[in-house]
Symmetry: C2
Subunit: 237 residues, 2 copies
């Protein structure tokens, strides 16, 4: 099954340009063909093509279904973008496949990359959502300063953890710290790790310093591990 | 800390060409400088450079330490190489970082890629081992036919699971199937999934069909999920 993405399909009754091209040029679909379109907000529409236009394919909605989310806890990943953007791109592809609700890009004291164009990352998230047959597109925020994010999460009713390398603060193992079923915010630092001041600030704001095991993981690997671990722990009967 | 890799350091007392170049050309290290060298078999040597030669740097061993493995269960990942080799390359980088003992490349009925040059994959595994400060280099096998691998594992005293997409056989959730502390063999099929005959053959040989959750995962994502999940479950106190 192939899914197309059109956030406003119900209003426009058209596929956006990129999806129109994919539908009509690449897949050679024609008037009368049936396609599935998701809106990224949890709805999937069964549609029939009424005009196979390569830039604005017009459709008619035949049926509409609410797609269930595969998990009933919210995962927020707040990560400092890596110097090498490829590593962020595959991280986003993977966590959308595996399942994440919100991605926040952090600007930390030791960040080597302080600016990120999010359009390309958005595109990668959209195609990962389509490919993994999901109906929800996770929220991706622009880069925000570490301090502002920590403040914004202060007093949030969910679990908040801080994955970092140095052991200036005692760290708990994430696996035995996360309480199943609860929403979680996972913060992962840059290649140069969080600064001592940042760790202190986060701990004061209620973040728990955690480790994902003995292995030294790259930024993107730690981020992926945290998201995967949350699902694995919730899958336990 | 920077680790160099020289499988036979104790005999040769030299860094191989690539590591010599990195040591002397890139890092500009000189006679008398101290470096760490791992042999990929669990030993790390503290060495002093006696000749900073860019092709065969000579060293003297000052101290030798046994590096503990971070996990006491063996993980074998048997995976059908993806059509796009980049996906295999990052998979290997990630599982070496996270921790794996053996990687087997499978040739399945639906494999789009039946040949893989392993030299480049080996190189990626070596640098991931160095980067994540490990002392063990996982074993990487050449591509072998699915049937031969399943036969070779028959009667193996460890848990063997088969991650696949279709549900011709009832599948258990890996998280509640894996018995902590035990060695595990995780088989992941190609983009086109295992064929019904392959699934039947594996089940008859004692492999348990498992799922890693509701999300549809790409081959390399499922493989990474399986390896990560094994560590997460073993980290539970």
């Amino acid at each position: 099954m192939i899914q197309f993405y059109a956030p406003d399909i119900k209003e426009t009754l058209q596929l956006p340009e990129s999806d129109s091209a994919h539908c009509c040029r690449v897949l050679r679909m024609k008037e009368g063909d049936e396609i599935f379109v998701v809106d990224g907000k949890g709805k999937r529409y069964r549609c029939v093509i009424v005009e196979a236009h390569p830039r604005h394919t017009a459709i008619e909605i035949v049926a509409e279904e609410e797609l269930p989310s595969h998990w009933d806890y919210k995962i927020t990943l707040a990560v400092a973008p890596t110097k090498n953007l490829d590593r962020m791109e595959w991280l986003l592809e993977k966590i959308v496949e595996i399942g994440v609700d919100r991605v926040v890009l952090l600007k930390c004291e030791h960040s080597e990359r302080k600016v990120v164009k999010t359009e390309r990352l958005e595109k990668i998230m959209v195609s990962a959502m389509k490919q993994s047959l999901k109906g929800f597109l996770p929220v991706l925020s622009e880069v925000i300063p570490f301090k502002d994010f920590v403040k914004s999460e202060e007093g949030a009713g969910c679990q908040r953890v801080l994955g970092y390398c140095s052991d200036t603060y005692p760290r708990r193992e994430f696996a035995s710290t996360y309480v199943r079923g609860e929403d979680v915010v996972i913060m992962i630092g840059p290649e140069g790790d969080f600064s001592p001041e940042e760790v202190e600030m986060a701990v004061e704001a209620g973040f728990i310093p955690v480790t994902f095991g003995e292995s030294r993981l790259r930024t993107e690997t730690a981020a992926l591990f945290g998201v995967t671990a949350t699902h694995v722990l919730n899958q336990l009967k």
